[in-house]
């Protein structure tokens, strides 16, 4: 058996390929010793990569880019890895059927947003999973599209995806943009309704990527290739509708039983044969050009002022652009 590789994941349905490859012994069939590590937040994922707590993680590119540049800790070698999932992020707002009907029937979405907001009696608090996330960029694009000013008309708060439902229930937030299955779960619990998401904002965008530290890749170059192959095989399994029930059962199992403790019904709804109440995620490990994969993210990150032209030179050397 090869050396241990610790891969960080969060409680999200798009972590499925790592969990499936582990549970179905795909990793061990490729001679790999992989340990999925469920992390409490994205800050922990980034710190784990920087301070030798993880060898890799399933994460969104903006956080990997900012971590590579040392914008939230020490700069470390993080390059684009294996694409794993596409889409799946939902934007939901607090409310039930009546609020949803009002939203749908109003063609002017700025007006619809203000009508919805008036029922809250406060500036809407919208949550994202981390500042440096695809979710923040997607929510920003959505608000801009409906002519709502993010900085003055909303309060953006940050919390891990698995806390969103509790925060919505407790009145801490009024909506969120998060990965699967949390948008679907909010709808199934009649807490919120979907207004947009990945598909309407950046169709088929790259969402999670397996990022390995340069240190691990340089030490085990052959294992990196086998890890990509194993994860690609698991991704194909996760896409097949005949496996949806078993994938959902695995993801909803308790963490001590190698699951993620996710709500099963919500997970079923975001898998390929789901009822598509929000966004369907898909798994695709095909490697595209940096422009197709990260172009829109990097442009948005420049616009936010997170990146400078000097950073682009560094990112180019690392293969991000």
């Amino acid at each position: 058996m090869s050396s241990l590789c610790r891969i960080g994941v969060l409680q999200l349905a798009d972590s499925a390929p790592v969990l499936v490859a582990h549970a179905r012994d795909i990793f061990s069939r490729y001679g790999l010793n992989i340990q999925p590590v469920v992390m409490p937040s994205w800050a922990n994922v980034a710190d784990g990569l920087v301070w030798n707590g993880l060898d890799g993680a399933l994460m969104f590119p903006p956080l990997a880019i900012m971590t590579a540049l040392g914008q939230r800790g020490r700069a470390i070698g993080l390059r684009p890895g294996l694409p794993v999932s596409r889409g799946g992020n939902s934007i939901v707002l607090r409310g039930q059927a009546a609020a949803q009907s009002a939203w749908i029937s109003e063609p002017d979405k700025k007006k619809a947003f203000h009508t919805w907001q008036s029922s809250l009696n406060r500036k809407p608090r919208l949550a994202v999973v981390h500042l440096y996330s695809t979710h923040y960029l997607i929510l920003t694009r959505f608000l801009k599209k409906i002519s709502v000013c993010r900085n003055t008309e909303t309060d953006i708060v940050v919390m891990p995806p698995a806390r969103m439902i509790e925060a919505l229930l407790g009145g801490e937030i009024d909506g969120f943009c998060a990965g699967p299955p949390w948008g679907a779960d909010a709808q199934l619990r009649h807490l919120a309704f979907a207004v947009s998401g990945s598909a309407a904002t950046v169709p088929d965008h790259l969402e999670k990527m397996l990022i390995l530290t340069d240190q691990w890749k340089m030490r085990y170059p052959d294992e990196t290739k086998r890890l990509y192959s194993a994860l690609s095989e698991a991704a194909i399994l996760c896409n097949q509708s005949e496996n949806s029930a078993s994938v959902a059962a695995l993801l909803s199992a308790k963490q001590e039983n190698n699951g993620l403790n996710l709500p099963e019904k919500a997970v079923r709804s975001v898998l390929s044969d789901g009822k598509n109440i929000t966004e369907t995620m898909s798994f695709n490990t095909h490697i595209q050009t940096p422009e197709l994969s990260f172009g829109w993210m990097i442009r948005d990150m420049l616009r936010e002022g997170w990146l400078t032209p000097d950073d682009l030179t560094k990112l180019s050397a690392l293969g991000w652009c």
Binding site: S41, A43, W51, G53, G73, R125, V129, L131, A162
Partner: protein, 193 residues
């Protein structure tokens, strides 16, 4: 210097507070349960925040500088000591991290972080020992109950029952306690294992 301790393990936070309070140059504030990190930083305006790494609202503190909703004008940054990589790795492994509010010098933060690392390690070790002791007790109890049930079901004596469990364990390369738990799960309908 004001230090905010954010740890949901109140026992550990209390122990760390006692340790730090011995230094009369420090003003130690504990985070109240149910208060978010951001709110606590806004209310207490500490110079340093020592955080249990597993706190999920660390994400929010990470993003505080860029978000208008935070209401914090003072910069908050993850404490990084680039010259002492092992200190940072030790902190991560022990389960503690630190944020700087304003521009507290690195040299002032390091002793606090070192104290926290030592204490967190001690807690982790004690907790691991306690867990191991509980498991040993639970294993012993399950084995005794399984033996009694086996003796009743098979009308045999204790040494025969023990030999049977030991043989099963050897054949299956498993522990006697695990075989005993399986046996109870199959045969004992009265109480859960």
């Amino acid at each position: 210097m004001k230090v905010l301790l954010a740890d949901e393990n109140s026992h550990r936070a209390g122990a760390l507070a006692s340790l730090l309070e011995a230094d009369n140059t420090l003003d130690v504030v504990m985070l109240h349960p149910g208060t978010s990190l951001i709110d606590a930083v806004r209310i207490h305006i500490p110079d340093i925040v020592l955080v249990d790494i597993s706190r999920s609202d660390r994400d929010a503190l990470d993003s505080v500088r860029a978000l208008s909703a935070s209401g914090l004008e003072r910069p908050v940054a993850l404490f990084i000591d680039e010259d002492d990589e092992s200190l940072m790795e030790d902190a991560f492994a022990a389960g503690v991290c630190s944020y700087n509010v304003l521009n507290t010098p690195v040299k002032d933060v390091k002793p606090l972080l070192r104290s926290a690392i030592a204490l967190y390690r001690r807690f982790r070790q004690t907790s691991a020992e306690l867990q191991a002791a509980r498991k040993t007790l639970s294993d012993r109890e399950a084995t005794d109950r399984a033996k009694l049930l086996f003796m009743k079901n098979e009308c045999c004596k204790e040494d025969e029952a023990y030999r049977w469990f030991r043989k099963q364990a050897m054949e299956k390369s498993r522990k006697i306690a695990d075989i005993a738990k399986d046996y109870l799960a199959r045969h004992d309908r009265s109480t859960p294992v």
